[in-house]
């Protein structure tokens, strides 16, 4: 299922910015917001629009953890691996969810529904360990609870 990338949205985003290279990260964030990831053809459109080398854009994309070069799933499952969550067992949660979804960190499930990520602290340490699914935060979860939460999304109940 290869979809033709519509570049109009990217061109529209670039037009909003005027400062050239210093807008790059903002542009990439908007692009990712619009497309769900950063499609390769869009990189060349940005390069042209902001007058930046494509290699530089690629360097920036791969430097920052936020940017994705592959489409993300419908739900992004994030396990916080910050210190507070770590001391409360986030490693186990991460492992269990990876097994449940059969993915590695950063990957998307075959059906395109879930992308699994580990994040370095979402700043809700008092609720450690934290899991975020589809933008909803779940605090103080055990690994069994975490699995249940993800399963709920799998079943399409949430």
């Amino acid at each position: 299922m290869i979809k033709e990338i519509d570049l109009c949205a990217a061109e529209g985003i670039i037009k909003k910015y005027t400062d050239g290279v210093s807008d790059l990260i903002s542009v990439l964030q908007d692009v990712q917001e619009a497309y769900g990831y950063i499609p390769e053809p869009v990189v060349y459109v940005i390069a042209e629009g902001l007058n930046i080398y494509p290699s530089h854009i690629f360097g920036v994309i791969t430097f920052y953890a936020q940017f994705k070069l592959k489409p993300a799933g419908k739900y992004i499952v994030k396990v916080c691996t910050g210190t507070a969550c770590h001391v409360k067992g986030s490693e186990r949660i991460s492992k269990e969810i990876k097994e449940l979804l059969k993915v590695k960190v950063g990957d998307t499930t075959g059906d395109g529904r879930f992308t699994f990520e580990e994040v370095a602290c979402v700043g809700a340490c008092a609720q450690a360990p934290m899991v975020i699914v589809g933008g909803n935060e779940y605090g103080k979860v055990t690994h069994t609870e975490a699995k249940k939460i993800v399963k709920k999304y799998q079943a399409g109940k949430k």
Partner: protein
């Protein structure tokens, strides 16, 4: 102000994580359905994270009453009783605030301020957090907001501001502790124009959320602090560089900046003073190293966030090569109060060299985690035991990590250390930005060091050799120690390589990355030696160094572990044998499969003692 009852719900990230959204929605629904003339307001974090979700109710002329651990199904009961009958719902009430403006307190509800969690706190930075609606500039203004900015713009010279900040003794709250007034002075005196002001809101320390809470709960205090700083150094353009992982903070900042512009606190010719200043928001994109100021500058410039060598310092050559001043969120949030109440007032808090208060995110194995603000110089003991309530029952306080992956740990024996910049450094750690992660005796100090180094290695930008390769090698050494494959001289290697990485790295990340391991070796050397020489982990955290033990009392004899074991090291444990599972430690390869597969959680780990020790039993009866 209003005569309507107010329902106030803590809607910070941690409140939301605890379920505040459902509570909020339910409350709105309920008052709508019942046509109750009350107002539902979301506020930032008040700090009492362990009691979240928090819901407060203020009846006209009554004190503010706080309910804790509220769930949606409790709403009808609480509102019905409290608002409709003016009778606080005793079952869930936590406390009430001290009466002000002649409000009438409720009998036999403890006062919030006198609760152990709050008693030793003093709130300057957090004074508005949890009290005002962060999306309302009017509420901020109502609590003296923007008064300080007006004062400086119309009645103070930049030099006077710098002098005031210098005399207040305010030091950088991002961790370094550099005197803020001096930093401003360098930038003011630096040649070149334009000058830039940056607020570092890239709170990357995993285990800290002070800045998030301030930005979510009181964004205007940061903006006001920036206006004052900008005027002092002569900058007309400011940037707030905020982590994209803090969507709520970003949202609140956006609203706050727009409101400030509307009210003429930002923009051209602010309030007719002739001073121009505006702020743009730049979102980080997930790189811890961007908390380092030169990397942050590179990131704003649209580059890979790779630090640049200092000198030249940003005060002389910063953003686009122009003089730039960078402070963190908490530093800025202090500034309006210092201007309003004076340098002497501020310097009245704290110790000789560490003035004022400090906000900490108290987390980890502690009874009452939360966001706290304490006067500098407070003994660590008071924070952990009086405010935080100590560690959970049955376990022992082991150490507290400050400064996150750049800091070190303070062991139980140094619990009397006072919290100030110099004494923490003397203890082998640092103030850091304010993360305080408490560890108990179930936390393995080798594993913790591995965790922090794993973080630093992941976040290394890769520019300089000692950090790029050095942290990787430190991590590998720790990995082999926890895997039971340590080499004899690994401890020395950690110390010597750690030293080189510290002295030779380009930026703060590399220069501090070895701190956790070095400080943990300093205080918990025995644990390291046990891992290396005895191949044992006393906490049972390190799988390869642990024994797997079945709790004979609770084993359900389902046979799953027996089937799962790849080396047939588990005997019995099935309905057929009618005996609980028994693990042969000689055969066990510590793969952990049984531990993970056990649906009832009756298999646990314990540090493997020296060989021969194992014989005492293949299973244990009691924990």
């Amino acid at each position: 102000m209003t005569t309507k009852p107010k329902i106030i719900i803590g809607m910070g990230t941690c409140g939301l994580a605890a379920g505040a959204r459902a509570v909020f929605e339910e409350a709105e629904k309920y008052i709508h359905e019942k046509k109750i003339g009350a107002q539902v307001i979301g506020v930032g974090c008040i700090g009492m994270c362990h009691e979240e979700p928090l819901l407060d109710i203020v009846m006209p002329k009554r004190t503010r009453v706080i309910y804790s651990r509220v769930t949606a199904d409790m709403i009808s009961k609480i509102i019905h009783s409290h608002i409709q009958k003016d009778k606080p719902e005793k079952g869930h009430v936590l406390s009430q605030m001290l009466p002000d403006d002649g409000a009438n307190p409720y009998p036999s509800i403890p006062y919030y301020e006198e609760m152990p969690f709050n008693k030793k706190q003093h709130r300057i930075v957090l004074k508005n957090c949890g009290f005002i609606n962060p999306l309302s500039i009017n509420e901020y203004i109502a609590r003296d907001g923007y008064e300080a900015a007006k004062n400086v713009l119309f009645s103070m010279k930049p030099e006077e501001i710098i002098d005031t900040v210098k005399r207040s003794g305010l030091r950088g709250r991002g961790g370094g502790g550099f005197p803020t007034g001096m930093k401003w002075e360098f930038c003011r005196k630096a040649e070149g124009s334009p000058k830039y002001l940056i607020c570092n809101a890239d709170e990357g320390d995993p285990g800290a959320f002070m800045d998030r809470s301030v930005l979510e709960g009181d964004p205007h205090s940061v903006i006001e602090g920036m206006i004052i700083a900008a005027y002092a150094i002569g900058a007309n353009q400011g940037y707030i560089y905020v982590r994209a992982e803090y969507p709520l903070a970003v949202k609140h900042l956006k609203v706050a900046i727009a409101q400030a512009r509307e009210k003429d606190f930002l923009g051209k010719n602010i309030l007719g003073s002739g001073f121009d200043f505006d702020i743009d928001l730049k979102q980080g994109a997930g790189a811890f190293v961007c908390g380092e100021e030169t990397a942050l500058i590179a990131s704003i410039e649209g580059e890979r966030g790779m630090p640049r060598s200092k000198p030249p310092f940003p005060a002389n050559k910063g953003l686009w090569g122009k003089p730039t001043n960078i402070n963190n969120v908490e530093t800025f949030a202090n500034v309006p109060q210092i201007i309003l109440k004076g340098a002497d007032w501020y310097a009245g808090f704290g110790t000789e060299k560490s003035k004022g208060t400090k906000v900490f995110a108290l987390t980890g194995k502690i009874k009452r985690p939360g966001l706290i603000e304490v006067p500098m110089g407070i003994p660590l003991k008071e924070i952990i035991f009086d405010i935080g309530g100590g560690v959970a029952d049955g376990s022992r306080f082991k150490a507290v990590q400050t400064g996150g992956p750049s800091g070190g740990c303070i062991p139980a024996e140094l619990i009397d250390t006072h919290v100030e910049y110099e004494s923490l450094i003397a203890a082998g750690t640092m103030m850091g930005s304010g993360g305080m992660v408490v560890m108990d005796d179930s936390n393995c100090m080798v594993e913790m060091a591995r965790f922090f180094l794993n973080f630093s290695t992941d976040e290394s930008c890769g520019k300089c050799v000692p950090c790029r390769i050095g942290t990787k090698r430190l991590l590998e050494i720790l990995e082999r120690i926890v895997a039971g494959k340590a080499k004899e001289n690994d401890l020395e290697l950690l110390a010597s390589l750690g030293g080189t990485v510290k002295t030779a790295s380009l930026c703060g990340l590399g220069q501090t990355a070895p701190n956790p391991v070095l400080s943990m070796i300093r205080y918990f050397r025995d644990e390291y030696v046990e891992h290396i020489k005895d191949k044992s982990c006393r906490t049972g955290t390190c799988q390869a160094l642990s024994r797997y033990i079945v709790n004979l009392d609770t084993c359900k004899m389902c046979g799953i572990c027996v089937k799962g074991c790849p080396v047939d090291a588990i005997a019995d444990g099935t309905k057929k044998t009618k005996k609980p599972a028994l693990i042969d430690d000689e055969k066990c390869i510590r793969c952990g499969i049984c531990f993970e597969k056990c649906p009832f959680g009756v298999i646990y780990t314990k540090g493997a003692k020296k060989a021969g020790h194992v014989k005492e039993g293949l299973s244990e009866v009691k924990v």
